[in-house]
């Protein structure tokens, strides 16, 4: 598949926002359990504002994916069958809850109200993770995506980057205890993502070795030697642009290497150093490293898919 940058930014940005929202609520529970730190409403209110900013940026990025954004309201109608439609409903709903959460804290709502809103928000937040992941996981012919691991990866990557951002935010806000807490959770989530993403990489390698759909099943010509001599066109078409990334194998391997190094070891090293030294700067670098890596990870997530239609577009002629 040809990676779409609008979708890469949408999924990575809202992931950070979702993770940050979960972190804020865990921080609040932590805050209530130990009365020796008291963050006050400003921390949560501005945290909510940051969540909203990430979600809004993601939403803006997604608009660039559409041919007719002015008709986007129609996309709420097919929630019975389409995960994309469900995402289009759940994302603004989540934004509304975060907006209420932010406004509530700016107006000094009490802990009970905040936690109730937080709990509802977290449920909607996970629903959003599931919708986003299922958009890809439900396409059963795209076998690289058609696994529950796709949803797990979205949850873990989004939460990890959100928690690391929360750690940096807590650090800059002068909250070393929260920096440590969020940093630690972020590190564990990153390790969890390493396991689940590693699993999908292994699974994809196995899928490539055992193709389900072949030139034989695509044409119905059951001879061991069938090869295309002409795709029926000499120039390009939507089929040759949308479903092929057009990059050399070496370049794809480098992007994969870049994401594996940035998202995991570089992020973890900076994060551990940052939490050990109580350095908001190092934790911020950890977030930036992971976010850059996640852009490459999402690029590779698209590029790795071998669309069955590509069987029909092998030979210019």
């Amino acid at each position: 598949m040809h990676p779409a940058f609008s979708v890469i930014f949408l999924t990575t940005l809202i992931g950070v926002g979702q993770g940050l929202f979960i972190a804020l609520n865990i921080g609040q529970v932590f805050d209530l359990a130990r009365d020796d730190i008291n963050l006050g409403h400003g921390f949560y209110a501005w945290g909510g504002f940051l969540v909203l900013s990430f979600l809004a940026l993601g939403l803006i990025a997604s608009v660039f994916h559409l041919g007719h954004p002015e008709r986007a309201w129609r996309a709420v109608t097919q929630w019975r069958t389409s995960w994309l439609s469900r995402e289009v409903i759940v994302l603004p709903l989540f934004m509304l809850i975060v907006f209420a959460y932010m406004l509530g804290h700016f107006n000094g709502m009490d802990a009970e109200q905040s936690l109730t809103l937080g709990l509802v928000g977290i449920i909607v937040c996970f629903t959003l993770f599931v919708c986003t992941g299922m958009i890809y996981a439900c396409l059963r012919f795209l076998r690289e995506w058609a696994t529950p691991l796709t949803v797990v990866n979205f949850i873990l990557f989004g939460s990890a980057s959100g928690f690391i951002f929360a750690a940096a935010y807590a650090g800059w806000a002068g909250q070393p205890e929260l920096l440590e807490l969020f940093g630690e959770i972020g590190a564990w989530l990153t390790l969890g993502a390493l396991v689940s993403r590693g699993w999908t990489l292994k699974r994809n390698a196995e899928l490539r070795a055992r193709p389900k759909t072949t030139t034989q099943t695509a044409t119905g010509i059951h001879h061991p030697e069938v090869r295309q001599t002409s795709m029926g066109l000499m120039g390009g078409s939507y089929n040759t642009r949308e479903f092929f990334h057009g990059m050399k194998a070496l370049a794809v391997r480098r992007i994969k290497g870049f994401f594996l190094v940035m998202v995991f070891p570089v992020t973890l090293a900076l994060l551990l150093a940052g939490t050990a030294l109580d350095s908001a700067f190092l934790v911020s670098l950890a977030f930036l490293a992971q976010y850059l890596g996640l852009i490459a990870e999402r690029w590779y997530f698209f590029a790795q898919v071998n669309h069955p239609q590509n069987i029909y577009y092998q030979q210019v002629g």
Partner: protein
């Protein structure tokens, strides 16, 4: 329930692309039109087509066969492109089983084209909506045309009569009979999409030609 479809006879397709050009000619001025043709005489042409004729070589030299293989939307009975559409623009008609896009509802998210394993949909960069074979829905019901011309443009154009149009749910239609009698098959049957369009396999002739 009716399921209109094409049956393509690989024994007689000569790969002339007449179906490709007549499809484009009809549809570019019909409901689905215009169908863009960017840079048609330049170095890098690109256009939207609903129908393509591909060519495959089977076997190894000198024992090879050339198979010309027309490919368009298969109007699946379980179309994977329909449920994923967030707006309902992509739909399958109850009355005749044709899979269509409502160009006024399409938001151009391209999700349906990802879901189709056959690459049957092509995005129109000019009108920013997804397009696909309509089975000439604006032709086959046209009462102003003589009855024998109420067929898709590709079927009308085929000089070898390699394309048969009909209702594959009617066991007495010519399409159904040919599928039944000539082992008509579906593409990528392992995916369970139940394409309505069928292909009639090549019958390899052996005998005097080989010994000559």
């Amino acid at each position: 329930m009716t399921q209109l479809a094409l049956v393509i006879d690989l024994n007689v397709c000569v790969g002339c692309h007449a179906c490709v050009t007549s499809c484009k000619e009809w549809n570019t001025s019909g409901q689905a039109g215009p169908m863009p043709d960017d840079n048609p005489y330049g170095a890098d042409p690109s256009g939207v087509f609903f129908n393509r004729v591909q060519t495959y070589e089977v076997g190894s030299f000198p024992h090879t066969e050339t198979v010309h293989f027309p490919k368009s939307c298969l109007h699946c009975e379980d179309p994977p492109c329909v449920p994923v559409c967030p707006t309902g623009a992509s739909h399958k008609r109850e009355a005749d089983g044709i899979v269509l896009v409502d160009y006024d509802k399409c938001i151009g998210c391209k999700y349906c084209s990802w879901a189709c394993p056959y690459g049957a949909r092509e995005f129109d960069e000019h009108s920013q909506v997804m397009k696909k074979c309509t089975l000439c829905v604006d032709r086959i019901y046209d009462q102003t045309l003589p009855e024998q011309e109420r067929k898709p443009a590709c079927v009308m154009a085929c000089p070898a009569n390699a394309r048969i149009f009909g209702d594959i749910h009617d066991p007495d239609s010519q399409a159904s009979q040919m599928i039944r009698e000539q082992q008509g098959y579906a593409l990528m049957p392992e995916l369970g999409t139940q394409p309505a369009n069928h292909y009639l396999p090549r019958h390899i002739r052996r005998g005097s030609d080989d010994s000559a």
